[in-house]
């Protein structure tokens, strides 16, 4: 078993990723999706991963969730090596992928049923979460009756219902329009400030990455490597005005340069 000393702090409940590589076989020879990726995340920390599409962000997330086996390297979650799918993880995808035949409430309860957790006490949890996400009045609706943003909020509730220690989000707002997306950023931070999960969120929006995160992992594509890890020294709670803070713009600009956006 791996030790959980994560360099600087060594918090319990952290994710530790060590020299992770992933090679996919393909028709034109092997494709290196990730190369020697290492980082650590502390308990209750909000970390975002930003980079071009094809830089292996999603691959990285799937490996941490135990859905993919790395070619080399290791992942430890809360001090234990990841060798298969982790039920201690809540996962949110780009699409809400709610079950269209279940009401919002029953969708949120799905993990409880699948993990055979007691239904009674978790019904209250589900209701609390839905209230927190502003969906309590819609709990008896079917997903198709809700807007994309509301569906994604329901998906976040579903990811949190079984009280996982990790929240993994793979471009969760990528399919939403810009206004809804900004709204969702606030919603997510509000939910996060209440529930304080260790959160790892993948995005290709630099400003979203900076706005949400304590630290931003910047990745370069082909093969996916870490270009830099940047501390975001902005006060919480983050407000709309946060985006006007010179430290915010400076951070965005710096990351843009790392990724290779020359016009920033």
């Amino acid at each position: 078993m791996e030790t959980s000393a994560s360099g600087e702090e060594g918090h319990r409940g952290a994710i530790e990723v060590r020299s992770l590589s992933k090679v996919y076989p393909s028709q034109d020879g092997p494709v290196q999706a990730l190369s020697e990726v290492s980082f650590a995340i502390a308990d209750a920390e909000f970390v975002t991963i930003v980079g071009h599409s094809g830089c292996g962000k999603s691959t990285l997330l799937r490996i941490i969730a135990g859905l993919l086996i790395p070619s080399s390297g290791s992942v430890t979650v809360r001090g234990r090596g990841v060798s298969g799918p982790l039920s201690d993880v809540g996962m949110v995808f780009q699409r809400p992928v709610l079950l269209k035949w279940r009401t919002i409430f029953d969708n949120v309860m799905l993990p409880i049923e699948m993990l055979h957790l007691p239904r009674q006490e978790n019904q209250e949890r589900a209701l609390d979460l839905l209230k927190l996400a502003g969906l309590a009045d819609f709990r008896h609706h079917y997903p198709a009756q809700l807007s994309g943003g509301m569906q994604q909020r329901a998906a976040i509730c579903r990811a949190l219902i079984h009280d996982p220690s990790l929240l993994l989000m793979d471009e969760p707002f990528g399919a939403l329009d810009l206004m809804t997306r900004e709204e969702m950023n606030f919603e997510l931070l509000r939910i996060w400030s209440q529930r304080r999960k260790t959160t790892l969120l993948v995005t290709h929006s630099i400003s979203e990455a900076v706005f949400l995160a304590d630290r931003v992992i910047v990745m370069t594509p082909r093969p996916g490597m870490i270009a830099d890890i940047i501390d975001v020294k902005l006060p919480r709670p983050r407000m709309p005005e946060t985006k006007l803070d010179p430290r915010f713009t400076e951070c965005v600009r710096m990351i843009g340069r790392k990724i290779g956006l020359l016009y920033i």
Binding site: G66, L67, L86, S87, V97, K100, W101, L110
Partner: protein, 255 residues
């Protein structure tokens, strides 16, 4: 798709118009009844001998409904087996396709030899004619799951049974019902083919008799009865679909 009063009105008027033109043509041109009976003659035939038609309709309806229900059961079962076992898929899928390609009319005489001239052979034919689309659609429905949902199932450590019952099966329902609609109309064909080939009951049998005796109005009453039966079964499927998938109306509203 809502049905308005105008929709019903248009349909009714067009049916009445067709019948009126038909009636007029047969009278104006003095078309003999054994070639094309007038609607009124067909109506008189239906009313005066309704016990006969009711009895044979019941026989045909029984054959097609039992054949249809068996087709649904067999089709769903085969689809599940095909999806979950590679070996069985390789063993039976090609044979199912071959069976589907062989014209059922050509198999009918064989079935009569094996299952006799009674109802069983007709039920089997209805089953054979209608099960194929159910298998194909059901397989598609069981497999067409979003990748992320399967990831979610793995994260939540759902076993095969939970993944099947909570995700795959409900996901397949819309596919299943669209195939059941097709199958319900096919099962009529199967039952009638069986009655054509042999036996002494059912609307198919009546049509054969009517033809040999040149009692064309009897043929027409049998034909109309057949379409009513097919329509009834189709209606039941639609009803079952609404009951089983209450979420679908929102689905189509948003799509």
């Amino acid at each position: 798709m809502g049905i308005s009063k105008t929709d019903i009105g248009t349909t009714t008027i067009s049916i009445i118009a067709t019948l009126a033109v038909w009636e007029l043509l047969t009278r104006i041109f003095h078309i003999p009844g054994f070639i094309l009976p007038s609607p009124s003659a067909i109506f008189v035939e239906a009313v005066t001998r309704y016990p006969l038609y009711l009895y044979h309709s019941w026989i045909t309806f029984y054959e097609m409904v039992v054949g249809f229900l068996l087709a649904a059961a067999v089709g769903v079962f085969l689809a599940v087996v095909i999806v979950y076992s590679r070996i069985i898929r390789n063993m039976i899928y090609p044979q199912i396709v071959v069976l589907q390609i062989v014209p059922k009319v050509a198999i009918a005489p064989l079935l009569l030899i094996w299952a006799g001239y009674g109802l069983t052979s007709k039920v089997l034919l209805a089953l054979l004619v209608s099960f194929f689309p159910i298998v194909v659609n059901m397989v598609t429905g069981l497999v067409a799951i979003e990748e992320e949902l399967l990831d979610l199932c793995r994260i939540l450590h759902s076993g095969r049974w939970q993944e099947f019952s909570k995700v795959r099966l409900p996901n397949a329902l819309p596919y299943l019902f669209s195939s059941l609609k097709v199958a319900s109309t096919l099962s009529v064909i199967g039952a009638v083919i069986g009655e054509f080939v042999g036996g002494n009951e059912g609307l198919g049998h009546l049509i054969i008799i009517a033809n040999t005796e040149l009692r064309t109005s009897m043929s027409f009453v049998s034909l109309f009865s057949l379409s009513i039966l097919g329509f009834l079964l189709y209606g039941f499927v639609i009803l079952a679909e609404r009951v089983c998938m209450p979420w679908e109306k929102w689905q189509s509203a948003s799509a």
